[in-house]
Symmetry: C2
Subunit: 398 residues, 2 copies
């Protein structure tokens, strides 16, 4: 039996050893990153009651800020994204830009006209302060000592970046999934700092289903003995919580997609076509696909960041401390574009429509774009043409 169900093989013989964490670390090539020390004179207080003595944001920009600072766009990334919205993979960037087709000269976010900014979120692992960062109190990585952060904390840190860049009002703040959560919090926390908002495949508060998926992703990591309660950074190379993080990613890789796409792309294809003899151990292509995506994330992500950001998403709730969703949304003054994906079972369209309907009832200008796609939640990273067209049309109306 074990031949077909053995451990993931991430650290099998002949494999390139994996770094303990895929986090970007000081001393690594910066790539396109710049760095901002947020709130350098005092510690950064967090919504959950904790505080961080130092907060750094790693960010990238494309295009130029115009004279009256009216052309700045903030892009907010999703759970496993980072500041590298556009550009090739290369030193300092393990993966190519996750929205390359949307950002650039002549693209929906036209860098000939716009100044586009993206920062790695607080709690992330690609240059911004997160659990893999050094805790100034101990000189060692935070690990299990890293505090709870919320989407509001992420946005509050980004507000310092806006100040630093001289952006009094973003022309728009746009993002998908966890990025869309940040978008809405921007509108509620800082209504005067945004001229428009675009929230894609996201919602006003994490649903029970989203929390459930988060919980099993966390369980996958916590069950990995190499996670060591979160304090694994001193482990020898190859002994990080790779199997756990890879498994968490594999679970997500399924519920981010759809039956239709898997059926068309993989069906019942085997990695090695059957020969003369029926081989009950033959591996299916879809299994190989999951292995690939698990390992790919392990090479560029940090397991503790995965936990911290998942928890932040679970805690996402526009209502918290604000009485009701209607009251929270009533703080938003800017026009809001919501987008949903027809086949998204993780963030079903009704969740965005709830936001849109409440805003519209309050007289806030709204637009809703339903992206017709079989790709499930990941559609916002795949359907560039529809997302781009919706974005361009909305921005033209602002």
């Amino acid at each position: 039996m074990s031949a077909a169900v053995g451990p993931s093989g991430l650290e099998g013989p002949g494999r390139r050893p994996l770094p303990v964490t895929g986090a970007w670390q000081p001393g690594d090539p910066p790539g396109g990153r710049r760095f901002l020390a947020v709130s350098p004179t005092r510690s950064f207080a967090l919504e959950g009651g904790g505080a961080l003595r130092e907060v750094t944001l790693a960010y990238e920009t494309w295009g130029s800020l115009n004279q009256d600072a009216s052309n700045a766009v903030l892009v907010c990334h999703a759970l496993t994204g980072d500041s590298h919205v556009v550009g090739d993979a290369g030193p300092g960037h393990a993966a190519p830009g996750w929205w390359s087709d949307l950002v650039g000269p002549g693209r929906a976010l036209d860098t000939d006209r716009l100044f586009v900014v993206c920062a790695n979120v607080l709690g992330g692992c690609q240059g911004s302060t997160g659990p893999a960062s050094l805790d100034p109190a101990t000189g060692r990585p935070y690990g299990s000592a890293f505090p709870v952060v919320t989407v509001r904390d992420m946005v509050r840190a980004q507000r310092y970046l806006a100040d630093h860049l001289g952006v009094e009002r973003w022309l728009t703040v746009v993002g998908g999934s966890m990025g869309g959560m940040q978008v809405l919090e921007w509108g509620v926390l800082y209504p005067h700092r945004v001229r428009s908002l675009v929230s894609i495949a996201s919602d006003a508060a994490a649903s029970a289903l989203q929390i459930a998926w988060s919980a099993v992703g966390r369980g996958a990591i916590a069950n990995d003995p190499n996670w060591r309660g979160g304090d694994y950074y001193g482990a020898p190379a190859g002994q990080g919580p790779h199997a756990g993080l890879a498994l968490a990613r594999q679970v997500a890789q399924i519920h981010y997609r759809s039956d239709a796409v898997f059926a068309e792309r993989f069906g019942r294809e085997l990695v090695q076509p059957l020969g003369d003899r029926y081989d009950p151990w033959a591996k299916f292509q879809v299994e190989s696909y999951l292995d690939y995506h698990g390992e790919k994330l392990v090479r560029r992500f940090d397991a503790n960041s995965y936990l911290v950001l998942n928890r932040a998403m679970d805690l996402h709730d526009l209502v918290r401390g604000r009485g009701s969703l209607a009251r929270a949304l009533s703080r938003i003054e800017a026009p809001v574009c919501t987008m949903s994906i027809t086949s998204d079972t993780l963030y079903p369209p009704y969740q965005q429509l709830e936001v849109r309907d409440l805003l519209a009832a309050q007289g806030t200008p709204t637009a809703h774009v339903l992206i017709d796609s079989p790709h499930g939640h990941d559609g916002f990273l795949i359907e560039f043409e529809q997302v781009g067209a919706g974005l361009a049309k909305f921005l033209a109306s602002v």
Copy 2:
């Protein structure tokens, strides 16, 4: 951070220690089980090329076989089911019957008129031969030495039970999910031994999505160091692969259900309502629900059986060795009722309709019942009224 994401707590202080395996074992109370030694004079050859020197099936029956043996119904159980279709929990049965509302006097499967039979499948862990059984060659549990079994192997073993009980033709063979796979294989392997078939929330071949979910469930178990490559039966109490099996179950418990049900049942409710102070560590009810279901399965199931049966489901393919689906289905002579659940994203209705349409095109009498339910795949274990009504109506027509 670790407070909210620590290991599952299945073996925490003050907890009742969990048995290494939840498998039923010789010496345990039999409950309603009887046992049949299948093929006692020679070893049982398996489709994958392996063989088992001894095969035992544990089975239960309700009602009486009539004189011409025309009233026998075979119920086939799903992945984590067993022979205990109906009845209370009690000695030998960790859980009450999984279809209690469907089977009994005056019920859809009316035991005043019918003789209802269910056997734990080959590879299972509730009395039939599986990986927790003793290997006669070594006197120790098979563990990692247990061979691959397929749905066809399960059905071939059940055929011995039919012979033993004196049932030349089942009035019907009925089951959901993995049970439905057995139903269709009965019709293809033994067309003269069935008078009708009822396949619920199942399909003609495992889809890529189903295989993907199987794969991550396997990964959850394989990542658990207490799984020990499958040879864990000699471990001290409390040191079985509980965390891995529980996690596999939790993943399944989500994709067996639906956003709608989770949203209505759990929403964003917390286990402990918030007091004056915002508590970022507060646990959501849906997390507690997942913990509960993980532990519940661990108490009554065996991790290796989970692996073996998941693999059997992945290998489910009516086409294998039979040229095409149409050719495979053309062997079926009995009327076939297929049932689907509207909200089932794991076995979407189109899969059953494909079977129905091919059968109908071949002139086989068919019926299709679409069960209107928000409960997702698990609807076949919940919507007793609709399943029962469909079943009763179909049986009346046979």
